[in-house]
Symmetry: D2
Subunit: 289 residues, 4 copies
């Protein structure tokens, strides 16, 4: 069994790493905040004193970090991933990054002789815990095939998207559709409620309709009810993804007027002070109530 | 068992009426194009020579017509529904109309002493045939409760929305979300395909994601593939519903910037000559290819 | 010289009526709030006790009212304009109304045998006072030609637009462009100021550029500076005109995506509580500061 | 009198350089296509064999190039501007570039010990020929003051904007407003014409209204009439500037929903094949006629 190094033990990373460990792998972990390593070490993982040490001891290095800047730091810093990668090892980045960023990292990794996969995931903490994530894989098809077993310890399905960048792009498509859907749901539901339709009726009918989907299932009740906007995916990151989607359209020569309108509604929500709230707080761009 | 009069035997009306008949009801039918009455008469329904005659013989009159203008004509014409409605009868309009139109018809019907329900449906020809429509009911709650059994001969679920107009409004919400979702899906998928992601990968991942829903299941493959845009719901009617949604927002004091952008994308598709195509041809506003 | 009846002595109407009087016409005035009649009566006008009385004594009846509802009331009320109009008289409505409303009033007026002109104006209180308004005339060309002299007592230029409705539509076009220009100016100037360009530099350069125009001259300094938003044209009326412009586009088969985005920005400003402020307060949709 | 080196003799650069020469300066010229140097040499300028040679002989080096890429090439190539700049010389870039690009060039120039100014211009070929350009200056205030006389040989007015980047940003603001104005003018005028208002009436009234401005004066007649869209400013560059304006808003935390809608209308025009046409061809996004 391959020896695994896992970096990034946050909301998603910790349960994902736990699943790798539970399948019997030899796992070494690393996290900037060292106290997050304790539960996994208690469960049988080894703790590494640095990223470079972790890479040295691993056949497969996995990162699951919160944003592209964190990935760049872990990869390119003095005693980072690149400093210890060698031919024969595989580095899999499961964070959500832009296609451009992913391609640049791939190029640097390959110069070390190591293999690279991008593998962003679809699914929440719940799916991460249950091992039912959908994992999008981008990179060399041979490498993707070879590393599918380790990915399947964390998810129920791996979809191979093609060369590096395409999995990152696919993840962007989902976030673009998700963000826009939350916008139009906010507009439609607030209008309906103002006209006298109870929130629970709106939710019931939407979920039994052609547009019923997990997004509304997960977010709808809070948006129309208590409005806690408990953070699963910060609005400021969603705003950034909407911008990336508009720029991707420009680069491809595809107009994206509806995405652009949604991007701007996120900008308004952010200007109103909801950047650190959950993505679903985009509703606040439309009403103070 | 109540005697039913059913007016409007189109793509949706014919199978819906067939289901009423199949449950053993005494059904009289009427359709402007008389030849459409034949199959139902062959199955046991009586044919009426006029709307007024149909209403006279029925306890419950149902209309399922293609647009508000057709409803107004059947209701208000010389020998129309109003001319023969009396206290004790119930008139149920299952067509998709605007909340305002529905409220005006309700007021006229109630002056005759008869009861009124609006009952627009969610679901396609397939659901109409299988009797699995979701039916939204608006009107007096007593009347809605009393008439639920007849509605359940056509659908698997009746959701009571409240006073007349609210069911029509709820249907508008679904169409608003549906139309906008097709827009952002078009923008996102065309960009992804231009970047090199195969259409079938996009569809597979979207359907396994947080935004996976019947709308993409039904429309996605044709939109990214053969582009037949076979008409289930004409784009020009979707365009009209988007306009109604924007106006409903204005009336309620709710901004609807994303819906408005989608409304305009439908306008562009229509200007390009796709008004008579399926709603999914909104993709054509973004590309000639 | 024709005898003039002038109804509506507000911010615009009072100085316009004063100019008619100053040219030596026999003028009768009427205003719902009677105290506004005093200055004009002091200057030589006669005061009428009712609209009908005013119409009886006049060859030409002019209305300059704040909105379409006020026009409808004065025209159609029991002792209103219609009740006393007869063949040989001319009724000129100089208020800003929708093309549809103007056409409906024209039809009613013509049934009395009287002539009708719509004559909305371009220009502020200053131009009204100086008699330098631009007046848009719609209606029968013969009538427009015949009544040009009286219009020129109030303005420096009369532009004949064509049949009734087209002058009203032209006024809508100006408001549509004006509202949208204020939106993009707000977006551009706030961004520039955030980047460090002083407000006065932005104003100086814009006014010396290809987009320099009276709108920025009049509104710009307050928008980027004190932000009093002193009301010349209420934002809620501008919001309504943007909606009418979107609907006019829909009716004509012309997409209006940029106008629609501006319409929605006005909706957001209104939701934020700026409906009664000046149109230029649309900037408040973008920033609380 | 300072010795001037002028690089870039295109539509704008040639007449600008001619005006510098006409004021009696010692001028050396350089242009990639050498034949464009002939008329200026005939008028008294010296021709340089390379950029480096030109810089060596000049106290002040001016570039007026078509896009940022051309500027970067001339500045950074082997025998480019940087290779020959020394303390005591001043480099003035009058091309239209992004604030970021301008700041990067400034930093490189200052490392040579030379002074730098950015000085993008407002005005067309006509203003360039007549020496009536408005020139926006960004950079060290001392340098700007010292070099104002040479700028005033080309324009009638110099507006000092502040540090490097702010003049470039100001130019972007003008292009943002200009592009958006052309969009709303297209939407409004096409709707008005469809309703029956003649194009010349629309132009006459707009020009006498609060939104009357040089942009409509220059572009309006062709847009509503012959639709030649003769290229003064290519649509694809306007599209790029709209994108930069949206990104500038994002960077500053200012929502720009109306600019974003205009950006997308340019994207649609470009997708329809009008990228190489004049910016005013954005009207083609709305109609094929």
């Amino acid at each position: 069994m391959a020896k695994i190094g896992f970096i990034g033990l946050g909301i998603m990373g910790a349960p994902m790493c736990g699943n790798v460990l539970a399948k019997g792998h030899d796992v070494t972990v690393y996290n900037r905040s060292r106290e997050k390593m304790a539960p996994l070490v208690a469960a049988g993982a080894k703790g590494a004193s640095s990223v470079a040490r972790l890479v040295e001891h691993a056949d497969i290095v996995i990162t699951m970090l919160s944003d592209p800047a964190a990935v760049w730091e872990v990869v390119a810093e003095t005693a980072g991933v690149l400093s210890a990668l060698t031919a024969g090892k595989t580095y899999i980045d499961m964070s959500t990054v832009s296609p451009e960023s992913s391609r640049e990292i791939a190029a640097m990794v390959r110069k070390t002789g190591a293999d690279f996969l991008e593998a962003p995931v679809l699914g929440s903490k719940k799916a991460a815990t249950e091992g039912t994530l959908v994992i999008l894989a981008g990179g060399d098809p041979e490498v993707a095939r070879k590393r599918e077993p380790i990915l399947l310890t964390m998810g129920s399905r791996v979809v191979y998207m093609g060369e590096v960048g395409l999995a990152a792009h696919m993840k962007l498509i989902i976030n673009q559709m998700f963000g826009t859907l939350l916008c139009v749901f906010s507009e439609a539901a607030l209008t309906g409620m103002a006209a006298g339709i109870p929130a629970e009726k709106i939710l019931e009918v939407v979920q039994n309709s052609i547009v019923g989907c997990p997004a509304i299932q997960i977010k709808g009740k809070d948006m129309l009810g208590e409005k806690t906007f408990a953070v699963h995916f910060p609005l400021k990151l969603a705003h950034k993804d909407m911008r990336l989607a508009v720029l991707a359209g420009d680069a491809a020569g595809v107009p994206t007027p509806v995405t652009a309108a949604a991007h701007q509604l996120f900008a308004i929500a952010r200007e109103r002070g909801f950047g650190e709230s959950d993505v679903s707080a985009v509703l606040r761009a439309l009403t103070d109530k």
